[in-house]
Structures are given as structure tokens and as C-alpha cells.
């Protein structure tokens, strides 16, 4: 049985079903009560489950996570909301030094079944600190599961799995897709570490997650017009990363493009391409490519469309892996590498 929901409503449905199914589940965050969150994701939940289970917290991210740790000791399953990606950093210590390590430090005696929801990503035309992709910081930390969702169905099922998990999970919600709709079947169960092949093809593999999955699928359709078959993998899990699925695909296609909104340096694409190089080197027919945010802070949103992976940038990368004419043809010719001038040294 399925219903048509926006991604935001699918998250709401997962939270609602989790609250209903287990009275040890509770929600905590800024403005999640009466307001229903700044994106209305928790709309109606406080009215339905009461202010004891849907808690409007004081304005302190470190305390949201730190107190959730204490609640976890008593067996609560806290779903904490961080209002926007850029506001997670005050909680960084509690997440990285505490949440991630308690199982290890207690030699398995203490579980942290905490879920941290983070609306993330760009393309919403907002101001500073509202469009970031901080997932790599957390992927680098052992003990945390870091997952994303690309569709309402994925959002529903993955969030249910996150809340049910005895590991701490960071659930990154692509806020730019909150209002996109899709079919949701609440009986579909998903895990927290298997990638999904969402389009099959023989020529090039594109690995994406969160908001870039849709762009990758559009690239597959556009490439098909030129007779190029693109396989698209929705990684879903960023950490631990499902390298097996990507390796299996690359063994067939020989070509890999990885895309995400986060900057390239020390990112999911760095890790994935290194892993593929280790495990599928003989099968690679071209250097892996990536299409990501540039290695700058998230720029003013007036230029975010230049910063973010786009359909054209993806197609250009596909062309590079196939040795077709592309935007960088001739770029490594020294004359093309004349020093840039505009603005750089101002």
C-alpha cells in the first residue's frame, strides 16, 4: 500500500510511526513543537504526542546532543533535530568525542541509539550557513553511521532504520528536495549500509547520494540520447560506505564518476575513488572523475548554481571518462594554464 508524499511529509510519517511504535522514542530540537520546525517537518507531532515527547529545546546544540546522551543511558531513543547543517558545529564535540565513542569506551556496554537529523545541502537560495554539506566530518569518525536519502521512500525507510538502530546515526536530509513528491510504501524496510543501483547501464557508473541522485538520473537520460549507457548508484550510506556495490558496477563499466555537493577535498568521493582504485584498478578504463562543490566555503547563493554539481557538469565528466571532447580538452596544455587574474589576489 503506498501513498504520495513529499520528502518532508515522509520524514514526518517516519517520526510519527516511530513515536507511535515505541514510547521510548522522543524528539528534541529547536522550534520543532508548535512551529513544527522551520521546514514543517515535525508539523503536528507535538500536538499529537505531547510536549514531553516532542521537546522544544533551549537554543543550544551541544546541549541537545549532550543531554540526548544522558537520556540514551536510560534507554530512550532520542531523535535530535539540528535546525540547519551550518548549526551542527557547536555540537561537534558531543557527537565526535562522545556519541561516537561510548560503545567502544565501555567495551560494548553502553549503546547510543541516537538519531541526529540534519537538513543539509544547497540550492535553496538562502544566506550564509544554511546550505552546507558537512557529512565528511562525520564520515571520518568511527562509530557513527552517516546516511542520506534521495527520495520520499528512502527518507521514510532509512529514517525508520536509523531510529531502530542501536548505533548512533546522522541522517542527512536533502532540504532542497523536501517538497518533491514520491510514492511511499511504509512496509518497505531498508538497512543503513547498502547502496542502491537506481539505473542500469554498461558504459559509465555515476555514484551519487542525497540531492545529487536526481541530477545523476537526469544525466543518465541525457546520455542515453547519445547512445551512452550510464549506471546510477544511490550510495545512501556515506559511512560505512558500500564499496562492494560500486566495485561490482565499475568492474562492468570500467568508468566512475562520483558526485556530491560537499567540497572534494577529503570527502566521500576521495574515499570512494581510493577504495575503487584499491579493489578494481585492473578494470578501470579511465581515471575516475568527480563533480562536487569546489574547495571553497559555501559561496553566496547568487552563485551557488556554479558551485553545485549540475547536469551539464556531470555530462562533461561522463565525456571525460569516455575520452570524448569535453570542457577540459586542451586545458593541460601549458598555454591554457596562464595565471588567473580576476579578483584572485585582491
Amino acid at each position: 500500500m503506498s501513498e504520495t508524499l513529499t520528502l518532508a511529509k515522509a520524514v514526518n510519517a517516519a517520526l510519527s510511526d516511530a513515536l507511535e511504535g515505541d514510547d521510548r522514542v522522543l524528539l528534541m530540537g529547536e522550534d520543532i513543537g508548535k512551529l513544527g520546525g522551520v521546514f514543517r517537518v515535525t508539523d503536528g507531532l507535538q500536538a499529537r504526542f505531547g510536549p514531553q515527547r516532542v521537546i522544544d529545546s533551549p537554543l543550544a546544540e551541544s546541549a541537545i546532543i549532550g543531554t540526548a546522551i544522558g537520556m540514551s543511558y536510560r534507554g530512550f531513543r532520542v531523535v535530535a533535530e539540528i535546525q540547519f547543517d551550518g548549526f551542527i558545529y557547536p555540537a561537534f564535540d558531543q557527537i565526535v568525542a562522545q556519541v561516537a565513542k561510548l560503545r567502544y569506551r565501555s567495551r560494548g556496554r553502553v549503546a547510543m541509539p541516537l538519531t541526529i537529523r540534519v537538513p543539509y545541502g544547497g540550492a535553496i537560495g538562502s544566506v550564509e550557513h544554511h546550505s552546507e554539506s558537512p557529512e565528511s566530518y562525520f564520515a571520518h569518525t568511527a562509530g557513527l553511521r552517516v546516511v542520506t536519502a534521495s527520495t520520499p521512500q528512502e527518507a521514510y525507510s532509512t529514517l525508520r532504520a536509523a531510529i531502530a538502530s542501536d548505533d548512533p546515526v546522522l541522517f542527512f536530509e536533502p532540504k532542497g528536495k523536501y517538497y518533491s513528491k514520491g510514492e511511499v510504501d511504509r512496509s518497505i524496510v531498508r538497512d543503513l549500509e547498502t547502496a542502491n543501483v537506481v539505473a542500469s547501464g554498461r558504459d559509465v557508473t555515476i555514484a551519487a547520494y542525497g540531492p545529487t541522485v536526481e541530477t545523476a538520473l537526469r544525466a543518465a537520460i541525457a546520455a542515453a540520447d547519445e547512445g551512452i549507457e550510464v549506471e546510477v548508484i544511490d550510495l545512501r550510506a556515506i559511512s560505512p560506505l558500500d564499496v562492494d556495490t560500486v566495485v561490482a558496477s565499475v568492474r562492468r563499466t570500467g568508468r566512475l564518476v562520483v558526485t556530491h555537493e560537499a567540497p572534494a577535498e577529503s570527502s566521500v568521493s576521495s574515499e570512494l575513488i581510493a577504495s575503487v582504485a584499491e579493489r578494481a584498478f585492473p578494470f578501470l578504463e579511465a581515471a575516475p572523475e568527480r563533480v562536487t562543490g569546489y574547495d571553497s566555503p559555501y559561496p553566496p547563493s547568487a552563485v551557488e548554481h556554479d558551485y553545485l554539481p549540475s547536469l551539464d557538469r556531470l555530462l562533461d565528466a561522463v565525456d571525460r571518462t569516455l575520452g570524448r571532447r569535453n570542457s577540459r580538452t586542451g586545458l593541460d596544455d601549458p598555454s591554457a594554464l596562464a595565471p588567473a587574474t580576476t579578483g584572485a589576489a585582491r
Binding site: 529547536e30 543550544a60 548549526f87 569546489y294 574547495d295 570542457s327
Partner: protein
Amino acid sequence: MSIIVPAPHPELAVGLDSPLTVLDLDGTRIANELLDPHLTDIDESALTTLYVDMVRVRRLDTEAFALTRQGHLVLWPPLLGQEAAQVGPARALAPQDWVFGSYREHGFALLRGADMAEFARIWKAFAHGGWDPHEIRMAPSQIIIGAQTLHGTGYAMAAKMDGADEVALTTFGDGATSEGDVNEALVWASAFQAPVVFLCQNNQYAISEPVAVQSGVPLALRPTGFGIPSLRVDGNDVLAMHAAARIAFDRARSGGGPTFIEAVTYRRGPHTTTDDPKRYRDEAEMEAWIAKDPIDRVERALTRMGANMEAVRAEAKIRADQLAKEFRAAAEHAEPPTADAIFDHVYAQPTKRLERQRLEHRAFLASIEGDR
């Protein structure tokens, strides 16, 4: 720099029972032992200046709000109702002092002399920063709640080390008082007796959360636990705010360390242009605050002083309209940034890696020219 433990103060918080006020709603002066000595030079002309400032700030705010609705700005956090809480302290600053504020400090930005064209660019999301912080002595606006309070404290510590006659004013909201950063700033300011003034604009809400979510006691009581004296002031009374700020700045300047001022006020607009306050507050509670309007009160006071209100109003309107026009022109005609803005100013010197990315992006743009 050694750590100084502040001597306990017998009466660290003033105004807990009712916020300090010197202007009654009808514009009559209420005698106040503490504040009056700091207002002796405020004559009709000085009060007129404060009035015109508030009218200009409000005009800037309403123009920007309208510009956002019309799609010329991406977002605007209105300060409607908080004009006195900003103008009073802003007019008590010395030119050499610094301001470290949040994102709602349009009054401070205007009175510090921020370039309106640059200011508009921030809210068009054309740039992250506007004015030159060193030129107008005001740090870039701060969206990360409370972070600026540490910066203000550190600036004040540095000014003290240098023996400079400078004070840092850091301003933030009621919600911000819950953040660790703000509490740590209070610890440091007290420990180092830094010449910093904490201005908490308690506008009763942090987005949807009423101040009761943050605190069961008046916010002005909090700093006393850190050994910091505090003043709870009617934030809609520009004279009381001005006097309180003068007290705090004088104390800081004379080596007396930090002061906390809670400006009790009200955010009459939505949190930002994307907010819908009907979901969380009864708009009827606004009535009481409209009755305490900071501008109306000064109009009445000026009338009582015998000012020619018609002329004052006309003069204020001309200046406010001029400002609104300037801001509108900037918002409507600002030159958008190019993609190069992504790569500029990331490091002191351009790096090879980023310059490579800049070139790749230019090459990419060239390759799709015409297709777009």
C-alpha cells in the same frame, strides 16, 4: 595577562522587579536615580537626533521588508519594535569602539556608517559580508547564534592588553543566552575583567520559542552568577537604553570590567520574512507592545518639551525617505557576482588547487556558452 577574580558586588542586578525606564508612555520624564546623571546633556536637540535615528532605522527596516516581499532581497530579519534598543546604545559608542552583533543589527549597521549598497548585497545573497569591519568598527553580521560574544570579549581583552581606550559592545538575543559560547564569554569577560558590554536584546522570542523556554528567571539575573553587574532596562525607551549604555561604557573604559544589559523589548515582525508567527503566538499580545512603541514615546516627549513636532517629523521623513531610496536603488540595481567569487579570498594567497578549479570552471562555462 593574569586572571582577576572579581570582588563580589552587593547589588549586581538592577531593574529585576521592573525594567529601568525614564520616559513614560505619555512622554513624561520619570526620575531615575541611576540613569538621570547620565542624561544631563540630553536636550531637545539631542533627543531629536535619537528620534530621527529611530525613524530612519524603522524606514530602512520596512523598506527592506517590502523589497524582500518583492523579490529583491532573499531574506530579511526585521527589527520593528527594537529601534530604541539599538539606537540608544549605538549613540553612546565612541568612534573607536567596536560592535560585534548578530544578524538583526540594522540599527547598529546604519549608525556605524555601513555602506548601504554593500549592506543590501548581503541580503541579496550576493556576498557573505558587506561593510569593511575595520573601517566602521563593526564585525560582519553573525548568524551562528552567540558566537560573536566571544569575539567581542577577545577584542576587549586585546584592547586592554594594548592599553587602548576602546570598548567592545557585543549584542545578541534572548535565545542566544542558552548557547555555550555566550556563557563562556561571560566567564572570560569576568575572569579577565575585559572592557566588554553584553547587550541582550530580549525580544521575547527565539524564532517560535518564548523566552520562558530559555530561562525561568529574568535574563539579567544570569550574568550576576558570573560576577558581572547587570542592568535590566526598558528596551523601548531610547533614553533609558542610552543612559544604561553610557554607564556600561564608562565602567568598561575606567577599568571596571564588563556589564550586561538586558533590553526588554518585543519583536513585532516575524523572525524573518520566511517565518509565520501565527503558528506560535497570539498576535493580540502585540497590542501592549504597540502601546509601548519606542518612536511614539519620543514624539510625545518632544512635544512636551515644546518642540515643533511638525517640522521634526517632516525633517525625519525627508531623511528616512532618502535612506529608503538609496537602499532600494542598491537592492534593485546591485551587480550580481560572477562565478569567480567562489574562488576569491579563500586564503591569503591563491592556492594552486583552487586556481586550478577556477580555470576548470571557466573552461566549463565556456564549453556550455550559448546552451544555457
